[in-house]
């Protein structure tokens, strides 16, 4: 069976109580880019951990063949020696070290008793040039953008003579132009004979890159599609076991009078005198779903965190809520004024992970469960129960700690917290990031229900289909300002992207 760089046959892996993988087969041809798709929890990561030796031979059933020969890895080192390199979503780099040091961190060059710095940096430069990256190897890694750091991680893998490169959600943090660079590099590597396994939720990239696609669902291989069979619809329907039509349950709803008016709003960096956003003006009406689109770094999250009072730099401009001027200096002012902000990073900004669901749910409006000035724990439990059951939150007990929940349920806890404050205006920043399709649909339903109740909703999202599918009106941001506004009818992927890439002249491109 030549022609296959990698074959994983009848892989079964069980954890106590759960079968994570059940008879999974994955065959990757030499020199192809093979995409691996599936919902969260479908078993992609487990499969890759088996391939990279995180789960050693013997802890699972089935066999792995590389170039037709059976292999068994005892640890990560074993898989590396066989030419398998994996790049995880969370980068395994040291920000305080230079680019060159990072590239050779685990190589023999860094193991010598006396380091030969010149040799190290010359070598590093050679590798960087080879894939067309113009980065000084003596720069500190932490000074680079996340996108460039990701590319450094790839260079690092290549120095280890990787023949099979596994990328786990590599573009989650990249800008559009960085994605293009990455794709170029992958195509280039492909022509040099490197085989690549590409794990991604972003079907657009999969369509553009992949020679074949394997879809996993619930720990089983559903199908492997080759180039001619790949369409977004087939992939999605195989992933979820149903078709795309009920993906965005937009419902027409009544839109009321204006509730939020932001006029000429600007704010500055904490340290520098540079504006993060300048002269932003927009309005939001009751019951309206306002989508906010834009590329990474356009200042979307910063703008709304600043409006919410969570950004420390100075600011100017007028904000009125329901006709009254709102002077928001800190988040508690914003909450009192009826704003709620659901962060894109729920673990960092949304949740107290070690705290119970109940206590997280009531945290932003604790006064609602303090009828006599003291916390009434029965009332608190009752209130939390009422609000979380409305969101269909699944947990064995509301007194469970939040860190035991899945991503989708955690997001529902954050939503519960903010709904408990009875917001007039709900700002959702990437509300469906990193959660599975089922939970996504539920969150869209909640958004619809809230808008029907007259809550004004601002939905920041990097996923164009989501913005297009859910919004009544779309604001597009570029370079710290609003570059355009589109109605539901006029918005298309093209019209949004056109506005999103409109830049100020002095802006330097992300890459050479």
């Amino acid at each position: 069976m030549s022609g296959y760089a990698l074959q994983m046959k009848r892989i079964t892996k069980a954890f106590p109580g759960v079968k994570a993988l059940d008879d999974v087969t994955l065959s990757v041809k030499k020199g192809e880019i093979h995409a691996l798709c599936g919902e969260n929890g479908a078993g992609k990561s487990t499969l890759m951990k088996i391939l990279s030796g995180v789960y050693p031979a013997g802890s699972f059933d089935g066999e792995i063949l590389i170039d037709g020969k059976e292999v068994s890895f005892r640890d990560i080192r074993g898989s590396q020696d066989a030419g398998v390199a994996i790049i995880y979503q969370e980068l395994a780099l040291v920000p305080e070290m230079t680019v060159g040091e990072n590239i050779f961190l685990s190589s023999d060059l860094m193991r010598e008793k006396v380091l030969n710095w010149n040799k190290l940096y010359v070598e590093a430069k050679r590798w960087l040039d080879q894939i067309g990256l113009d980065i000084d190897p003596q720069r500190k890694l932490g000074e680079l953008t996340v996108g460039k750091q990701q590319l450094i991680e790839i260079v690092k893998a290549l120095t280890k003579n990787a023949e099979i490169l596994i990328l786990d959600e590599p573009t989650a943090a990249l800008t559009e132009s960085e994605v293009k660079i990455l794709m170029g590099i992958l195509k280039d590597l492909q022509s040099k004979g490197v085989t690549c396994i590409y794990i991604s939720h972003k079907l657009g990239e999969v369509m553009a890159l992949a020679d074949s696609v394997t879809v996993l669902r619930d720990g089983r291989t559903i199908d492997t599609l080759n180039a001619s069979e790949i369409t977004e619809d087939t992939i999605v329907s195989k992933m979820v076991g149903r078709s795309l039509t009920d993906y965005f349950p937009y419902e027409a709803h009544e839109i009321g009078e204006e509730t939020l008016n932001v006029h000429n709003y600007s704010f500055y960096h904490t340290s520098a005198d540079e504006k993060v956003a300048h002269n932003v003006s927009f309005t939001l009406r009751k019951g309206e779903i306002l989508g906010v689109s834009g590329l990474m770094g356009a200042g979307r999250s910063e703008l709304f965190i600043s409006l919410f009072g969570g950004y420390p730099g100075k600011k100017s401009g007028e904000v009125t809520i329901d006709g009254k001027p709102a002077n928001i200096k800190k988040p508690s002012d914003a909450i009192r004024a009826g704003l709620a902000y659901v962060s894109e990073d729920r673990k960092r900004y949304g949740l107290i992970l070690g705290m119970e669901i109940t206590k997280n749910a009531t945290l932003a409006a604790l006064q609602h469960v303090m009828p006599k000035g003291l916390i009434d724990s029965s009332l608190e439990l009752k209130s939390a129960e009422a609000i979380t059951s409305k969101l269909n939150l699944k947990a064995h007990s509301l007194e469970a700690k939040v860190d035991q929940l899945s991503g989708g349920n955690q997001q529902k806890v954050v939503l519960s917290k903010w709904l408990f404050t009875d917001p007039k205006i709900l700002i959702l920043d990437e509300p469906t990031r990193g959660i599975d399709v089922g939970a996504k649909t539920e969150i869209y339903k909640i958004i619809n229900e809230l808008s029907q109740q007259g809550v004004g909703i601002i939905m920041i999202s990097s996923e164009l289909p989501e913005v297009l599918g859910m919004s009544d009106r779309i604001l597009v941001m570029a370079d710290g300002t609003i570059s355009g506004e589109l109605s539901r009818e006029e918005a298309t992927e093209e019209s949004v992207m056109k506005l999103a890439t409109r830049r100020r002249d002095n802006h330097e491109p992300a890459f050479k």
Partner: protein, 389 residues
């Protein structure tokens, strides 16, 4: 595994599932008490010794109560030993040199503690200097001030009224009345809680379990009162510990301030975006800690009937150890006052039991150090197990 919440029965079944983790501390305490009881031929458990033991633990226990909140908030306070020494010294100086009355002296000591706590809290909260540094500085500064204002002398003796704070006991009858009142309060609050949960249609615990547990606690309280009454009665400093402990349990469970401290320690950024004023609450934690150090200083000076320049040295470490043994996480966000008090009791038992056995004092440090490490190890490994399952 997961099911809709409203399908659950309204009353939990009576299950005697033994949760070793939540009782580990009490088991450890019982083991230590039993071991010393056997090794000292029962002398450790005598009324007289129990009375001594509780009197000995009070200073560390009071400090540990405040330290729990500091650590839960994600900070540390290394200055409390020096601060207790300094406030105790201020109390002694005001009384011995300036002739102030006992009540005014106590108020002054507590106020001084709170004020110095405010100073440290300001640096931590509003100037963003790490608490480790601020309170390490405080540890040196307060000790220096103490040596300066006392001119290096031991200040003694104090009035009878002041001495009584740490050295007197409750009359027997009042002791029993307090014990019965305390037990009654436990039952009443449990009953009220059950009643309210029923009214709201929430899941209630099985009454046999709740009231059975309370019955055991009540019997223990009565037994302890009986034992202490066989000697001199309940020591007043023990009542101070119980009162401060009760107050701080109340603060951490029932007030928004307490809840916010746990939230801040658990995830400061998320807490800030939830509208919590991080700085003000952090400042308050240090003020409370300072005030408690003042209380501890008063007890310390009263017990010794003197204030010396070395009073309270190394107490900060005992207090931190008591918190940690009691299950408070140095990462912040997790911990409780009851655990800290039991931790203080464990530490005091080791000191007391080993000195009764005439073991040389250096062994006390060694054993306490080992227990600290093992306690944290048990905590960490039990958490790993539960997250792996």
């Amino acid at each position: 595994m997961s099911r809709p919440l409203n399908d659950q029965p309204l009353q939990k079944k009576l299950k005697f599932k033994f949760n070793a983790q939540s009782y580990a501390l009490i088991i450890a305490l019982i083991l230590i008490v039993l071991i010393f009881g056997i090794l000292t031929g029962g002398e450790f458990l005598s009324s007289r010794n129990l009375s001594n033991l509780f009197a000995q633990m009070t200073v560390i226990a009071v400090l540990a109560i405040g330290m729990t909140l500091v650590i839960v908030a994600g900070h540390i306070d290394l200055s409390v030993g020096s601060l207790a020494g300094l406030t105790g010294g201020i109390a002694a100086i005001l009384q011995v040199w300036f002739g102030w009355g006992t009540i005014w002296v106590v108020l002054a000591a507590v106020a001084a503690g709170a004020l110095l706590g405010l100073w440290q809290g300001w640096w931590v909260a509003y100037r963003a200097v790490p608490a480790f540094i601020v309170t390490l500085g405080g540890m040196l500064i307060f000790r220096g001030i103490l040596i300066g204002i006392s001119q290096g002398q031991t200040v003694a003796p104090l009035n009878d009224g002041f001495k009584a704070i740490a050295n007197s006991h409750m009359p027997y009858s009042i002791g029993y009345i307090l014990a019965i009142a305390g037990a009654g309060l436990l039952f009443f609050s449990a009953w009220r809680n059950q009643h309210k949960r029923q009214q709201l249609g929430l899941v209630t615990d099985n009454p046999v379990k709740i009231y059975g547990k309370l019955l055991v606690y009540s019997l223990l309280i009565l037994l302890l009162t009986y034992m202490l009454n066989r000697y001199n009665g309940i020591p007043v400093p023990l009542l101070i510990v119980i009162f401060s402990g009760g107050l701080f349990i109340f603060i951490s469970n029932k007030t928004s301030f307490g809840r916010y401290i746990y939230a801040i320690g658990g995830n400061e950024e998320a807490a800030a975006l939830s509208g919590i004023n991080i700085k003000r609450h952090t400042l308050s934690v240090f003020v409370l800690m300072g005030a408690l150090a003042g209380v501890a200083g008063v007890i310390l000076t009263s017990r010794l009937n003197a204030a010396s320049v070395s009073a309270g040295e190394m107490y900060e470490l005992d207090a931190i150890a008591a918190c940690v043994i009691g299950g408070t996480s140095l990462m912040g966000g997790r911990g409780n006052v009851v655990g800290a008090i039991i931790g203080a009791l464990i530490m005091a038992s080791i000191d007391n039991g080993m000195s009764m056995m005439n073991i040389e004092t250096f062994w006390q440090s060694i054993v306490k150090g080992l227990i600290l490490i093992v306690a944290v190890w048990i905590d960490i490994s039990s958490k790993k197990q539960s997250s792996a399952a």
